[in-house]
C-alpha cells in the first residue's frame, strides 16, 4: 500500500517529541512542524491529509496530559461552574467559578475563529518560508509583551485566586481571541496567551498557568473534532505512527509543563523571544536554499 511509506516510525518519534514540548513552550508547534521537515529534507507537507491525521493524535495526547496534570484544578473549576449555574451568578468569593467562566469566555473566541478560519489560514500560510518569518515575529510579540507588561501587586498565595482576581471577563476574551494567532504557523498559542496574561497584570507563573488551563479545552476539542479523520481513510497507513508519535508527545508535554511552571516562577519569556527571533531569521535565510 502506497500510504505505508508516507511517514516513518523514526519521523513519528521526532515529530511527536517536537509536538509535545513545542505545543506548550511559547515557540509555535505548528511553525516547527512546518519548518523541521523542510530543513531535514522530509517529504512531509503541512496540508497533507495523512499528516493532519498524525497531528490530530499528537494534539489529543498533549490535551490529555494537560487535563491529567491539572486534574484536581479541573475538578474544582467544574464544581465552581456547576455552583454558579445553580445559583445563577458568581459569588464574590467563589474564585473557582470565576476562573471557570474566565476559561469559558477565553475559549469561545478562539474556538469560533479556529472553526471558521483554520482551513483557510492553513492553506495560505502553510509554507516553511512564511512559518519562519512568523516565527521571528512571534519572538517580537513575546518580547513586546515582556516590555509592555503591567505589574499588579501579588496579594494572594493561591495561584488561581490571583488569576481570578486579576483577570476580568473582557481581558479573558481578549487573551482567548489572541490564541487565534496560532492558526498561522509560526505564531505560538501559548505565547499569545502568556503574553496576553502579562499585559493584563499576571506574573509569568500565573500567565503560564492560565495559558495551560486555557489550552486544554481548545487543543482537546480541536483534536476530538478531527478524530474521525484519523479513524477514516485519511488515517490509513499512519495510525501506528500516530500512536507512537502520541506517546512521545505525551512524554515531552508532561516534562514541558512541569519544567515551564517551575521556570516561570523566576524567569521570563525573553529567552523564548530571542530563540524565536533568531531561529525564525536563520530559517528564513536558509530555507530558500535548502
Amino acid at each position: 500500500m502506497i500510504v505505508a511509506s508516507l511517514i516513518s516510525y523514526g519521523q513519528a518519534v521526532v515529530l511527536g517529541l517536537l509536538q509535545g514540548f513545542s505545543e506548550l513552550f511559547p515557540i509555535s508547534s505548528l511553525g516547527h512542524s512546518v519548518i523541521l521537515p523542510k530543513l531535514l529534507g522530509w517529504n512531509i507537507h503541512q496540508n497533507d491529509p495523512y499528516f493532519l491525521s498524525f497531528l490530530v493524535a499528537t494534539h489529543l495526547a498533549t490535551a490529555i496530559v494537560l487535563f491529567v496534570f491539572f486534574w484536581r484544578d479541573w475538578v474544582r473549576i467544574l464544581h465552581g461552574l456547576g455552583r454558579s449555574l445553580r445559583d445563577r451568578g458568581i459569588a464574590a468569593d467563589d474564585y473557582d467559578a470565576k476562573l471557570g467562566w474566565l476559561l469559558v469566555v477565553g475559549t469561545i473566541p478562539a474556538g469560533i475563529l479556529g472553526l471558521l478560519l483554520e482551513h483557510q489560514l492553513r492553506k495560505i500560510f502553510a509554507s516553511p518560508e512564511s512559518a519562519a518569518i512568523f516565527l521571528a515575529l512571534n519572538g517580537g510579540l513575546l518580547y513586546g509583551a515582556e516590555l509592555l507588561r503591567r505589574r499588579a501587586p501579588e496579594t494572594d498565595s493561591d495561584d488561581d485566586v490571583r488569576i481570578a482576581k486579576q483577570v476580568g471577563f473582557p481581558q479573558a476574551f481578549g487573551v482567548g481571541a489572541a490564541q487565534a494567532l496560532a492558526l498561522i504557523p509560526g505564531f505560538s498559542r501559548s505565547g499569545a496567551t502568556m503574553g496576553g496574561g502579562l499585559l493584563v497584570g499576571l506574573s509569568n507563573k500565573d500567565a503560564a498557568r492560565f495559558a495551560f488551563l486555557l489550552a486544554t479545552p481548545i487543543i482537546g476539542a480541536a483534536a476530538v473534532l478531527k478524530l474521525p479523520e484519523l479513524f477514516g481513510h485519511q488515517g490509513d497507513g499512519v495510525r501506528g505512527q500516530a500512536l507512537v508519535g502520541s506517546l512521545c508527545s505525551a512524554v515531552t508535554a508532561y516534562l514541558a509543563v512541569r519544567f515551564l511552571l517551575r521556570f516561570f516562577e523566576t524567569n521570563r519569556l525573553t529567552p523564548f523571544a530571542l530563540y524565536c527571533a533568531a531561529a525564525g531569521a536563520v530559517c528564513a535565510a536558509v530555507i530558500p536554499f535548502s
Partner: protein
C-alpha cells in the same frame, strides 16, 4: 426574583435559541439548500458545514447562559 435587565435577557434568549436552531440547520442541510443570505451557501454543493454549526451552537449556548445569569438573583459583592 429580581431580573437585572429584562430586555437584554430576552434578546439573549431569542438570539441564543435562533443560533441553536441555525446550528441544526447547518448540520442537517447541505450547502446548496441553505438560504442564500446565510454564510456557507454554495449553489450545487452537497457539503455539510459542520464547523459553522458548531460555531453557531457555541455562540447560542453562550447567549443562553448569559441570559440565565441575567435573570438570577444579584450576587452580593
Amino acid at each position: 426574583m429580581k431580573i437585572r435587565s429584562p430586555l437584554l435577557a430576552g434578546l439573549a434568549v431569542l438570539a441564543g435559541l435562533a443560533l441553536v436552531v441555525l446550528a441544526v440547520v447547518y448540520w442537517a442541510e447541505p450547502a446548496h439548500s441553505l438560504p442564500s443570505w446565510l454564510p456557507g451557501h454554495e449553489a450545487g454543493s452537497g457539503h455539510h458545514h459542520v464547523k459553522h454549526g458548531i460555531a453557531s451552537l457555541l455562540v447560542g449556548l453562550a447567549l443562553l447562559v448569559f441570559a440565565w445569569f441575567q435573570t438570577g438573583k444579584k450576587q452580593p459583592a
